[in-house]
């Protein structure tokens, strides 16, 4: 029977880390740096800012809602063809966008087409990564996700340079060529078959079993709550600083400081997640609680030094929770169901992400400042981390074994035995 009993925890896995690093850079780095194109689109199409921001919103929404599709396809065909197709779609979307004559073209090409491409790349890659590692999973995740932070640094000036030399049409053309590297990264994802794979059946069976899996559902609820509060500082911190009287340049510098500490937090948390025994969910709860506390303290801080300290704290803790959040899932549902599991989680938690920013803006409009927004964001994070306590093995001192779906295994083995007897295959 083909398949390994244990994930390799190294070897080719490090190439998968490299691939995931570049993919998170090319998907989220591009999304985060799209603000650079924003100004150009506003003047080129003579449209309002709100309408132009829909381009990125549609892209993010399609990427998250489309994650289950990427999951299902990867379970059937393996991650490699799915990710390579996703890369082609993402690059094609950008290519068509460079010929756009109206904003609707951009909604369809960047939002819909590139968004679907990104949906097919990101989730299968992370799921594939968690199948390659078990002991060093958190570190691998942390290293791979640093791609997001580094690319936000690199791509914003790069895109500005492209705009200055080629105008937005030429710049989009070259971003499309850049996105083709997603296809090359997909080629690195060699399929890995583990012994559990044959036990869990096709994607439909997996999805149904996941939706009946208590811990998985509780985890999804926790992540959705966390997601609601998580993005609020990214959207509103600059506005909050300007309300306090900060100039644009120091405010931007504060964001860079938070971004650097976010990067350090990711790697440190990844290393810590593997070094500390016991279920990773406890670390996730620690980081989300600290993030929630630092968010809630933002309105209280008035002095510049206090704000800098809080920004560093928020950056570190929010960066720290990302690799751990992805590492908890294989422990809960097993590496065989990881593709479907990750897709479902991404889709449901995106609801939180979509609701969080408008809710925060609404609170700001009603109360006149960002105090309520930050406190509510912190509250969401704290409630989410509270839900994490209900996960299994939370209080044990040993690492939960990568859980195998026990009931399913017994059923399927029975079926297998009878099949073999019928077909007359030799068995020792």
């Amino acid at each position: 029977m083909a398949g390994r009993a244990e994930p390799p925890d190294g070897g080719w896995g490090w190439m998968v880390v490299l691939s995931a690093f570049f993919q998170s850079a090319l998907v989220f780095g591009v999304l985060r740096s799209f603000g650079v194109f924003f100004v150009e689109f506003v003047s080129a199409f003579e449209e309002q800012a709100a309408r132009v921001s829909w381009i990125a919103s549609i892209g993010i929404a399609v990427q998250q809602f489309g994650s289950p599709i990427g999951s299902v396809l990867s379970t059937n065909f393996g991650p490699r063809p799915v990710v390579m197709t996703g890369g082609i779609l993402a690059a094609l979307g950008m290519l068509l966008a460079s010929f756009a004559t109206s904003l609707t073209h951009l909604y369809l090409s960047i939002g819909l087409l590139s968004g679907s491409g990104w949906a097919l790349t990101f989730t299968p890659t992370l799921a594939c990564l968690s199948r390659y590692f078990s002991r060093r999973r958190s570190l691998a995740m942390g290293l791979a996700l640093t791609g997001v932070g580094l690319s936000s640094f690199a791509f914003a000036p790069l895109f500005q340079w492209l705009l200055d030399h080629f105008a937005w049409r030429g710049a989009l053309l070259l971003v499309s060529a850049l996105s083709c590297h997603l296809v090359a990264c997909g080629a690195l994802l060699r399929p890995l078959s583990l012994t559990e794979d044959t036990a869990v059946g096709g994607p439909r069976a997996q999805l149904t079993s996941l939706l009946h899996h208590g811990p998985f559902l509780r985890y999804t609820v926790a992540l959705t709550l966390i997601n609601t509060g998580y993005f609020i500082p990214y959207v509103h911190l600059v506005a909050h600083l300007q309300d306090l009287g900060w100039d644009p340049l120091p405010a931007a510098f504060l964001l860079s400081v938070a971004a650097i500490s976010d990067l350090i937090g990711r790697v440190a948390s990844g290393w810590l997640g593997d070094a500390v025994p016991g279920p990773v969910a406890r670390l996730l709860m620690l980081w989300t609680t600290l993030t929630g506390v630092s968010l809630a303290l933002f309105p209280v801080a008035q002095a510049p030094t206090a704000l800098v300290v809080l920004a560093v704290a928020y950056g570190f803790t929010s960066g720290a929770l990302t690799p751990v959040a992805f590492s908890v899932l294989p422990e809960l549902v097993g590496t065989a169901r990881i593709y479907c599991g990750l897709g479902l989680v991404q889709m449901i938690e995106s609801i939180g992400g979509l609701l969080g920013a408008p809710l925060s803006g609404y609170l700001r409009d009603v109360t006149g400042n960002y105090t309520a927004s930050f406190v509510v964001a912190g509250a969401f994070l704290l409630v989410g981390s509270g839900v994490l306590i209900t996960l299994p093995h939370f209080f044990s001192c040993f690492s939960a074994p990568t859980s195998r779906p026990q009931e399913l295994v017994i059923e399927v083995l029975d079926t297998k035995v009878s099949l073999h007897k019928e077909e007359g295959l030799e068995e020792e």
Partner: protein, 253 residues
């Protein structure tokens, strides 16, 4: 030496005041008002009890000849001077080059946020000269907003020769100021070259990755040559990954 910049766009009545603290112990001083090097007014002033001298000069500015630098000068052992610089509003002047492609439409914008020129005019460069643009004679140019605080020059159906320096000139009753805008017209080949270069690089990368994989698979299969019926599955615990699902199934013995 004290200096103050004043922005003025339409004729006005001006009153300048200088307050001096003369050195030494004098009761009467001479204050001179000049415009540039031209002497405008010279009169004696009394020194007050708190050792200050107040000098005032009133005049009207009607046209550009009366703009310039006005100075009040206190004569004495230590000369004290204050300068007032009158200028028309300046245009922004920090524009980045405007990049467009052949066949596109370019819109060049000049604006003056806090002023209202009497008239705007557009010029383009022809060698070393400035040639005025006449929108009525040439229908590829459309000028809008000649009498507001923002003016736009729209150029349709760009050709490569349309690239170069353009000037917008804001004319006031008291003078004028210009701003330079650079238009760059690129052909489609310009971004296409790096595009294909990057695509080629991606194809090369993918070939390397896939060839490496084929090569390592061949290396794994070679030890099995000649043992087709006694296939021993070896779970290697070093750098290799698992065997693909569609590889021929091997049975344990």
């Amino acid at each position: 030496m004290l200096e103050k910049n004043i922005t003025l766009e339409s004729p006005s009545l001006v009153s300048l005041t200088c307050e001096f603290t003369p050195s030494g112990n004098v009761t009467l001083v001479n204050v001179t008002w000049t415009r540039g090097t031209e002497l405008m007014l010279r009169s004696p002033h009394a020194v007050f009890a708190d050792n200050t001298v107040h000098a005032q000069y009133q005049f009207s500015i009607i046209n550009s000849k009366q703009m310039g630098s006005y100075s009040c000068l206190l004569e004495g052992k230590q000369e004290q001077r204050g300068t007032f610089n009158f200028k028309v509003p300046e245009l922004s002047g920090k524009n980045k080059p405007f990049i467009t492609y052949v066949g596109d439409t370019a819109v060049l914008v000049c604006k003056c946020p806090k002023c209202l020129p009497v008239r705007w005019a557009w010029y383009r460069s022809n060698g070393s000269e400035q040639v005025p643009i006449d929108a009525l004679m040439n229908d590829t140019y459309v000028i809008s907003g000649t009498h507001s605080n923002k003016t736009k020059l729209k150029i349709k159906n760009l050709r490569e020769e349309d690239g170069g320096a353009y000037w917008c000139r804001a004319e006031f009753q008291l003078g004028q100021s210009t701003d330079q805008l650079d238009l760059v017209v690129l052909s489609f080949l310009v971004p296409l070259k790096p595009f294909f270069a990057i695509i080629a690089e991606v194809i090369v990368l993918m070939s390397i990755i896939l060839l490496c994989e084929v090569y390592t698979k061949k290396k794994k299969k070679h030890p099995d040559d000649g043992k087709e019926f006694e296939q021993i599955e070896q779970l290697k615990s070093d750098d290799s990954n698992g065997v693909e699902n569609n590889a021929p199934r091997q049975r344990k013995k």
